[in-house]
């Protein structure tokens, strides 16, 4: 039924099992897999965008598969110390043709294996050549294969910005990976990349998107915006600095998400730590990131510049303990932004409380029935003037630490696509 007239010329042939394996193996450490944020319409071919995002499968490492995450090539001329595809590394190399990728996407998509394509590449031959190939692939997929599903394209640093602008007309989302949180670490570990080569195109794309919107031009220009990713634990930057950087990226560059990737040693190098960074640190950073994006916190409130986040308490609890003079708040009167600052009350519980209290005066019993988790919240709330928590700050701290599930240490990827999808579905924020 998907005949050649409708879906363009199929001439790439099926990609070989070996090539697919090599090109996926190298792409899998990229964290981003979300397919949310784009409501692209089907225009007479195959596929459309799913604004809330959709997970199609889950791998044994607990991460979701939403997009076909693949490199166009893993044959790299750069020599970033932490990367398994770096020039000096002895791994099997492969390069796919644009048609091989397009056919793979279309056939996987029609069987509902994937929500779209996440296309990245090692720097093959030169930055310009690589970016040109990426552009060629997405353009082909959209125009010749008539595919309207989700496409996420990686930007290649140091390539001509015209390629990125052109690719942005076809992609739903683009991302330049910041990789490391400071210029100094970047110089040390990724000598061919510079802070400017990553931030400049990011800013240029954001500006172009704004112009596109203001002039109400036809078509699409990155409907799902931009994201970035940085490695945590390979270099010495503290969490406070990382969060300030994230915040400035959200505010100044209009990024949709900053992903953190806990450092895993895949290559040996004297400049790199030989042990993986603790998963709990990544988890705390994501919690703090959620506070920045959905709970109205600022990075300055969460951690001082040189400070790391507490590993035994989540960042909201840690903030509340420092600000006990603001609590307890009355659940029947507190405005939404205050409810959201109560430890243990998330966006969903806050929404339920806001709705329910329009009809009745809520008691603690009501909150329990509504499945608002009170383990932490009871120390910070009154319901109808009644308080069931602990008054002494030290005791509260002990109870909060005890309330932390030991399992959080392994909930590494709890905030991948799935949760983002759920969040954005609930609030339409992405």
């Amino acid at each position: 039924m998907f005949d050649k007239q409708v879906f363009g010329v199929y001439n790439g042939g099926m990609i070989s099992e070996e090539k697919l394996h090599i090109l996926t193996e190298c792409a899998k450490y990229d964290v981003s897999c979300s397919s949310s944020g784009s409501a692209r319409k089907n225009a007479g071919g195959m596929g459309n965008g799913y604004i809330a995002g959709c997970c199609h499968s889950f791998t044994p490492d607990g991460r979701c598969i939403s997009l076909l995450k693949i490199l166009l090539s893993n044959d790299c001329v750069f020599d970033c110390k932490y990367c398994m595809s770096r020039r000096a590394s002895d791994v099997p190399r492969a390069t796919a043709t644009p048609d091989e990728i397009c056919e793979l996407v279309v056939d996987f998509y029609k069987r509902n294996y994937i929500e779209g394509l996440f296309l990245s590449s090692a720097v093959h031959v030169s930055p310009n050549h690589t970016m040109e190939q990426l552009l060629l692939t997405v353009k082909k997929l959209r125009t010749e294969y008539n595919f309207h599903g989700y496409i996420h394209v990686k930007g290649i640093p140091k390539a001509d910005p015209m390629y990125a602008f052109e690719a942005a007309k076809y992609a739903d989302r683009m991302s330049y990976n910041i990789e490391l949180p400071s210029e100094k670490s970047l110089k040390l570990l990724a000598p061919q990349k510079s802070r400017e080569s990553l931030l400049v195109p990011m800013r240029a794309l954001a500006k172009e998107k704004q112009i596109f919107k203001e002039e109400k031009r036809k078509g699409y220009f990155l409907p799902a915006g931009q994201t970035t990713q940085m490695i945590v634990g390979a270099s010495p930057e503290p969490d406070g600095q990382i969060l300030r950087l994230s915040q400035s990226l959200y505010r100044a560059n209009g990024l949709k998400r900053v992903y953190f990737s806990s450092y895993t040693p895949v290559v040996q190098d004297s400049l790199l730590p030989s042990v993986p960074a603790a998963a709990i640190r990544e988890h705390r950073l994501y919690q703090a990131d959620w506070l920045l994006r959905f709970y109205g916190f600022s990075a300055e409130e969460i951690a001082d510049e040189g400070e790391n986040l507490s590993l035994e308490l989540d960042p909201k609890c840690a903030w509340a303990l420092k600000n006990m003079h603001l609590f307890p708040v009355e659940v029947n009167r507190a405005p939404l932004e205050v409810l959201l600052r109560v430890p243990g009350i998330g966006a969903r519980s806050a929404y339920k409380i806001m709705q329910a209290r329009r009809y009745t005066n809520l008691t603690f019993e009501d909150l329990k029935k509504m499945r608002v988790v009170l383990k932490r919240a009871r120390h910070f709330l009154t319901a109808g003037g009644k308080f069931y928590g602990e008054n002494r700050q030290e005791a509260v701290r002990g109870l909060l630490v005890a309330a932390e599930k030991p399992a959080t240490a392994v909930q590494l990827s709890i905030f991948t696509g799935m949760t983002e999808a759920a969040q954005s579905a609930l609030y339409g924020e992405l």
Binding site: E17, T24, S57, P60, D61, Y359, L412, I414
Partner: protein, 246 residues
């Protein structure tokens, strides 16, 4: 009194009317255990009566029939009780009660509806189509709730040129899109002639699934939480092979 009904919307509305003033009422469309001295009655669907009651209820809440549709699709045992309490409560309040989230009747019904809509969302991702020799797509599913026809608009929007069948093998029914129309038909078994390269694409997909996993970060419990084992039956990537035990 136990009120049996056949699970249809009309029969539910008639049973609701009969049970409305009965505080001890149990409404059920499945087998219920009768206790000593308890009476039971079978309420048949009466189109005219049901339409009357529907109009009354719509007067209280113009979206309530959508709620009822979701509730009656649920495969959970407590769905009839939840629906009865919810609609009794609606009829008492004579206004939309959806947002009265601290009321037990609303909490139970909301939870029941949420489970149905959540499964629809999950199946947008978990449906696996097989390509047939004719070019049509065929997907067997066995969901907890009766959702096969709710899945059709999603796939129709993204594959408008392609006929497909979503076959609920548990309920022996199929939601069909023939390239122009959608309809639901009873279907016990389906004989499917697969396209020549279907197996090869499946094999590439399994290869992808195995390659994108990071074995050093195994979190099996989390995987099963997001993708429960009951859904694995028709997913090629979860069919056991010696090289990939999970």
């Amino acid at each position: 009194m136990i009120y049996f009904f056949d699970g249809s919307k009309e029969a539910f509305l008639c049973a609701l009317a009969r049970a409305f003033c009965d505080d001890e009422a149990i409404l059920t469309s499945t087998n219920a255990q009768l206790s000593m001295g308890q009476q039971s009655i079978f309420v048949a669907a009466d189109g005219a009566r049901a339409a009357q009651i529907e109009q009354r209820l719509l007067g209280f809440d113009k979206n309530c029939m959508h709620d009822l549709d979701l509730l009656l699709r649920s495969g959970d045992a407590w769905r009839d009780a939840a629906a009865l309490r919810y609609f009794k409560f609606l009829a008492e309040k004579k206004r939309p009660v959806r947002d009265m989230l601290s009321e037990e009747a609303v909490i139970a019904a909301t939870e029941c509806m949420r489970r149905v809509s959540y499964e629809v969302h999950r199946f947008h991702g978990f449906v696996r189509f097989l390509e047939c020799a004719s070019g049509a797509l065929y997907a067997p599913i066995s969901p907890n709730h009766d959702i096969s026809d709710l899945l059709v608009p999603h796939f129709r929007a993204r594959l408008p040129q392609c006929p497909f069948v979503i076959h609920d093998v548990k309920r022996k029914k199929a939601a069909v899109y023939d390239g122009a129309h959608t309809f639901v038909a009873p279907l016990a078994r389906a004989e499917v002639a697969l396209a020549a390269d279907e197996k090869a694409w499946q094999s590439l997909w399994k290869n992808y699934y195995a390659s994108v996993n990071i074995p050093s970060r195994e979190r099996l419990k989390q995987m099963r939480g997001y993708m429960p084992v009951r859904y694995w039956k028709f997913m090629p990537e979860k069919q056991l092979s010696p090289s990939s035990p999970c």
